[in-house]
């Protein structure tokens, strides 16, 4: 029993870490640009498939390094051409546009790579279990958690200590003032969007190694990220981090006692948080509410 519980908590943490990575990208874009990026799952899938395509040439490690920046470039181009014209308008429009983009990504990946699921082979060193007692902690899962932790740490350091990061945080609070201080807001939004998509691409590569690839996987992974953001509080990246881990562990623990409800628990958690603390765990009142 204890081992089962431990297994599911670990599992939940790992899944939660994955949600965190995806939700942080969404959250970055939402906070600065007020855009709910429905195509985030689509970018994730594209990142995964890019990794799948280049793995035979550069290996898994090469793909891990190359695929996220490539995805970010696609994201940057998308932002420049399609999303930029919508900043001044009601958030409804960017929502609808990215919603349409998600369709195009899903259908496009199916067209290029086929509807059949694609496995991605991970290096042998990551594929084996680390201990026989705790068979479930494979090298790959540990590697996933370490990668996510590293990515989150880098993101938070960048936001905290670099000029760009400080501008992004300032823009989240009051974009108009940042603009009045002479910062190129358009550029800021583009870079911020690209950073968010970079995280989506990285999630895609990590997901590909664990789950394999399917054109439809993006839509399924999008909803937990939404819930992570709502639970953590819109406007707070730390909140998103907390929310993602929380729903991951909650669904992991629930899987022990009531497997059928392991996904439903996320929604229950969200309802409870909204009832008790409508702004989300770390959200501030008045921030985009």
């Amino acid at each position: 029993m204890l081992q089962l519980l431990l297994f599911n908590v670990t599992n939940g943490l790992i899944i939660g870490a994955f949600y965190v990575l995806m939700a942080l990208g969404l959250s970055l874009i939402l906070n600065l640009s007020n855009v709910i990026n429905f195509a985030h799952g689509g970018f994730l899938v594209v990142g995964g498939y890019i990794a799948y395509t280049i793995t035979p040439y550069v290996g898994f490690w090469g793909a891990l390094l190359i695929a996220p920046p490539l995805t970010a470039i696609i994201g940057l181009a998308t932002e420049r051409v399609l999303i930029r014209p919508l900043y001044g308008r009601d958030p409804l429009y960017s929502l609808l546009l990215t919603f349409g983009l998600a369709f195009i990504f899903e259908d496009g990946t199916r067209f290029i790579w086929g509807a059949q699921g694609k496995p991605v082979t991970v290096p042998a060193i990551l594929a084996q279990p680390l201990s026989y007692e705790f068979f479930f902690i494979t090298g790959y899962r540990l590697f996933m958690v370490v990668t996510v932790a590293l990515a989150v740490a880098v993101l938070f350091v960048l936001l905290r200590y670099t000029r760009l990061g400080i501008r992004i945080r300032a823009g989240t609070l009051d974009l108009e003032t940042v603009s009045a201080l002479g910062v190129n807001v358009g550029m800021l939004r583009s870079l911020n969007f690209a950073a968010g998509i970079f995280l989506a691409g990285l999630s895609g590569v990590l997901a590909a190694g664990q789950l394999g690839l399917e054109p439809t996987m993006g839509a399924g992974l999008l909803m937990p990220s939404f819930i992570a953001i709502i639970v953590g509080g819109v406007g707070s990246l730390t909140g998103t981090l907390l929310g993602g881990l929380l729903i991951g562990v909650a669904s992991g623990v629930t899987a022990v006692f009531l497997p059928a409800a392991s996904e439903a628990i996320m929604y229950v958690l969200m309802a409870v948080v909204l009832l008790i603390r409508p702004r989300g765990l770390l959200g501030e009142e008045g921030m985009m509410t």
Partner: protein
């Protein structure tokens, strides 16, 4: 000038209702079929319900398909287990959708803007998830089957709406007319004016002493009732209820219909639904990549026709 305007409005109304009443006669020669017309009418009603909230109160719900789907399941379950009666099934569907909306509405009305949209999406998915998982009741992924709409029993005679597609179309049109009349009545009432005030300037409305949250909750709930009703009709049309009808991608379609037709106008969403349904019907018959084309349609409408078809027409008329 004002008389002229009223005259034009009346003429447009007459045209709309004439086109709707005569649809079973002019659609087939143009290559359509009556069931397609019925679908346009029902999805149009759903899009108008979404727009009742979005276009007239300025509140974006991106999870309205949930209440549509609940209406469908309510009607289906009622026909299957409760009573073989079409009116009762419509009532049950409407109640299920509306009451769910009323309860969830209380949780979410205090949120605004993108936050509201996100919360409605997430809560909408709850029902999708339930319909998907609770397969002993709902049939799960395969959908709810094993029921069919029943003849209307009016006491002295009964109308066969099951095998006669035209009869069913007129029945749906009758229901549609009632709901649309209720919507129009609400919008013309002082309450409807208050909705517009909230849309135009929420802060000012609040300063005027309007209980904004309560108003938004009422509008949200009303639109969920309309949505449930439309969903119930949809279940009767297909004799089938599908978990996909609850999914957020269906919500996106409804919002798209409203935007494409013209959010600020009463009839716009119906026009949007007509274009959307016919286009989707056509695309899915000619290409397997119809999803890309629908996605492209979203992108193009947002970038080039954000005011929708009626918005463009209206602008032309003004200038």
């Amino acid at each position: 000038m004002i008389e002229n305007d009223t005259g034009r409005k009346l003429a447009v109304l007459v045209c709309i209702w004439a086109a709707l009443l005569l649809a079973p006669y002019w659609m087939p020669p143009l290559g359509g079929y009556t069931a397609l017309g019925t679908r346009v009418l029902i999805l149009g009603l759903a899009a108008m319900s979404v727009n009742f909230l979005l276009g007239f109160t300025g509140v974006l719900s991106f999870g309205h398909a949930a209440y549509f789907g609940l209406g469908a399941y309510g009607a289906g379950l009622s026909l299957k287990y409760l009573a073989p009666s079409t009116p009762i099934s419509l009532l049950m569907g409407m109640l299920l959708g509306g009451l769910a909306g009323a309860i969830l509405g209380m949780l979410i009305v205090r949120r605004r803007g993108v936050y509201f949209a996100m919360v409605t999406i997430a809560f909408g998915q709850v029902f999708y998830y339930i319909a998907f998982q609770w397969s002993s009741l709902t049939g799960g992924d395969d959908g709810l089957r094993g029921f069919s709409r029943q003849p209307l029993d009016l006491g002295f005679f009964s109308i066969d709406i099951l095998s006669n597609a035209d009869n069913f179309y007129f029945f749906v049109l009758f229901c549609f007319a009632i709901v649309v009349a209720v919507m129009g009545f609400i919008l013309r009432s002082p309450f409807g004016r208050t909705m517009l005030a909230i849309r135009e300037n929420e802060r000012r409305a609040r300063f005027l002493g309007i209980p904004v949250e309560r108003h938004i909750w009422i509008v949200f709930t009303a639109s969920c009732f309309f949505m449930g009703f439309a969903g119930a009709l949809y279940a009767l049309l297909n004799n089938f209820a599908d978990p996909k009808g609850l999914h957020f991608s269906q919500s996106g379609d409804f919002v798209m219909m409203a935007v494409m037709g013209g959010m600020r106008s009463f009839w716009g969403p119906l026009l949007g639904a007509a274009v959307f349904v016919v286009l989707q019907d056509y695309l899915s018959s000619v290409t397997v990549n119809w999803m890309s084309f629908v996605g492209l349609l979203f992108v193009l409408v947002v970038l080039f026709f954000p005011r929708g078809l009626l918005g463009v027409v209206r602008r032309k008329l003004v200038s």
